[in-house]
């Protein structure tokens, strides 16, 4: 039979030599291995104090972006909800009233915007579908809860804060190539 790897060893039940029979050398060998591991660097990361660095394109909890003047970018077109394979996104649209121009960038906005984090599979199709650069996935982790209800995140959680200091950085996901892809007229969402 052909060997699959060169690591395989042929097993034999030949008579043990004296040293093998008294086992002590084998025990000492095993002890030296465990002692070596005793001084080895630990593989564990002590989580709350120490965090593992995420990948640049990690897809975690969503954020609804504001533009530079602090207006909501979302126009409640519903493309994200259509693109969502898990059907996690729902929204209710409303028309912008006169005098609300400092709040909403477009003439139409979402009064209710909900993502069910239990349904969401964090695929990132929503941000790809968004023509207004309004929704992004970030490197934040969705917090655990005791009940199902709190997992339906509304605008109160998803929308990024007004304070420029508190804005959520998505530059890692909003690269130039991404922008170019989004503005390409060949794709349906830009037509």
């Amino acid at each position: 039979m052909q060997a699959l790897t060169n690591r395989s060893k042929v097993v034999s039940d030949k008579k043990m030599t004296f040293l093998e029979w008294i086992y002590i050398p084998a025990i000492l060998k095993g002890m030296s291995i465990t002692l070596k591991h005793f001084f080895k660097k630990k593989a564990t990361i002590s989580y709350p104090e120490q965090r593992r660095e995420f990948s640049q394109v990690y897809r975690g909890q969503h954020v609804l972006k504001r533009d530079d003047e602090g207006r909501e970018r979302c126009t409640a077109c519903g493309l994200c909800a259509v693109a969502c394979p898990a059907e996690a996104i729902t929204m209710i649209a409303a028309e912008r009233k006169p005098g609300e121009e400092h709040l909403y960038r477009e003439e139409k906005y979402a009064t209710v915007y909900e993502i069910n984090m239990l349904r969401c599979i964090f695929c990132g199709d929503c941000e790809e579908a968004c023509p207004k650069e309004a929704i992004f996935l970030t490197d934040r982790i969705v917090a655990s809860e005791y009940k199902r209800k709190p997992f339906v995140y509304g605008k109160d959680i998803l929308l990024e804060p007004l304070d420029p200091e508190m804005r959520i950085d998505v530059s890692a996901r909003q690269t130039e190539s991404v922008l170019k892809f989004k503005q390409n007229k060949r794709f349906a969402h830009n037509k």
Partner: protein, 343 residues
């Protein structure tokens, strides 16, 4: 009645009890740390700095657990089991010489609670009674797994006590005394018995592992086959007593091994330094504890290296391996002394 001596002995007795419990308590912590480090983990590090309060948390947990005595169990024996295990584990510390003599106010105080002239036999007696704790506990549980565990423990202890006793016979041939104090005094300097009785030491060590029910001989509490062995039905602090007794046993057997084979409180080259006798005694005791901790580490090291024996392998090793070997050891020692004494 000599009241000074009485008070001194009482204080010393409680001190030893306290130290034994403390060491056993932190052995549980040490065990988990050593295990973790050998498996590239951190181990307990949440309760207090470096997880040092973990044993307290464990103890508290044990106390808070529901106390269950099975309906079909024999109540008296069920409670007696862990009590015996704990008591006998603690009793052995009485004969161990923890240090040389302290001179306070012109009086000499021995750092040994009772210098019995049959100290080794006393240790053996206590260890043998310790088996009853496990046996009675397993029997009283009225559970077949517990009974299996108890039977295993009993037969294992009986098999290994023979070899252990015979390795001690060879040691007694070299020392000529059964008193632990005399044995330690004879090992002054670097005349440690391990150099005179290497084979005896190896046999004694293996038997000590078996006697304390530690891996690789922890068959009585084999989780995979026996659920928990003799303590399957136990809960709350009664279970805690069994587990704790194991750690006390480990500490005491480390102390016995250090006394018999590693010179006890003797420190090499200490006489050349010209220190006052009391300081020498203190240093000796510290060094003795260092040896004990080394032995405890060896116990843990072995546990996290070797897999558990199969039952027939255990019996084979005991009856066909260690007993003939220890008889050979006695013969060799006897013949050696016969010919050297003749000259």
């Amino acid at each position: 009645m000599d009241w000074t001596l009485f008070i001194y002995k009482t204080i010393f007795l409680f001190l030893i009890l306290l130290v034994t419990l403390l060491v056993a308590m932190y052995s549980t912590y040490g065990e988990r740390k050593v295990a973790a480090y050998m498996q590239d983990r951190h181990g307990p590090n949440r309760a207090g700095p470096f997880g040092l309060l973990q044993p307290l948390a464990d103890g508290l947990k044990m106390f808070m657990k529901e106390e269950i005595i099975p309906l079909s169990a024999n109540r008296t024996l069920f409670i007696l089991g862990p009590s015996i295990a704990m008591t006998t584990a603690l009793l052995t510390g009485v004969v161990i010489p923890w240090g040389a003599t302290l001179t306070i106010g012109g009086r000499e105080f021995s750092m040994q609670i009772a210098d019995l002239n049959i100290g080794i036999l006393y240790v053996f007696a206590m260890v043998s009674i310790g088996v009853y704790g496990i046996m009675i506990g397993g029997w009283a549980s009225n559970n077949k797994y517990a009974l299996y565990g108890a039977i295993r423990a009993a037969s294992q202890m009986i098999s290994y006590e023979l070899a252990m006793g015979m390795s001690i016979v060879a040691l007694v041939l070299t020392t000529g005394s059964l008193s632990l104090h005399d044995i330690v005094e004879q090992q002054h300097g670097m005349h440690w018995n391990i150099f005179y009785q290497p084979l005896g030491f190896l046999i004694f060590l293996i038997c000590a592992f078996a006697e304390t029910n530690r891996a690789p001989f922890d068959l009585p509490e084999c989780e995979t086959e026996l659920i928990g062995g003799y303590h399957t039905e136990y809960s709350s602090m009664k279970l805690g007593f069994y587990l704790f007794a194991e750690y006390i046993n480990m500490f005491i057997s480390s102390a016995v091994i250090a006394t018999l084979y590693f010179g006890g409180y003797n420190m090499p080259f200490i006489d050349q330094l010209g220190l006052s006798p009391n300081i020498v005694t203190m240093l000796g005791t510290a060094f003795f504890f260092l040896k004990i901790f080394g032995m405890i580490f060896l116990f843990m090291w072995i546990r996290w290296t070797l897999p558990r024996f199969r039952y027939d392998q255990l019996m084979n090793l005991g009856w066909k391996g260690l007993i003939p070997l220890s008889i050979f050891n006695i013969l060799a020692t006897g013949i050696y002394y016969y010919f050297t004494e003749l000259k």
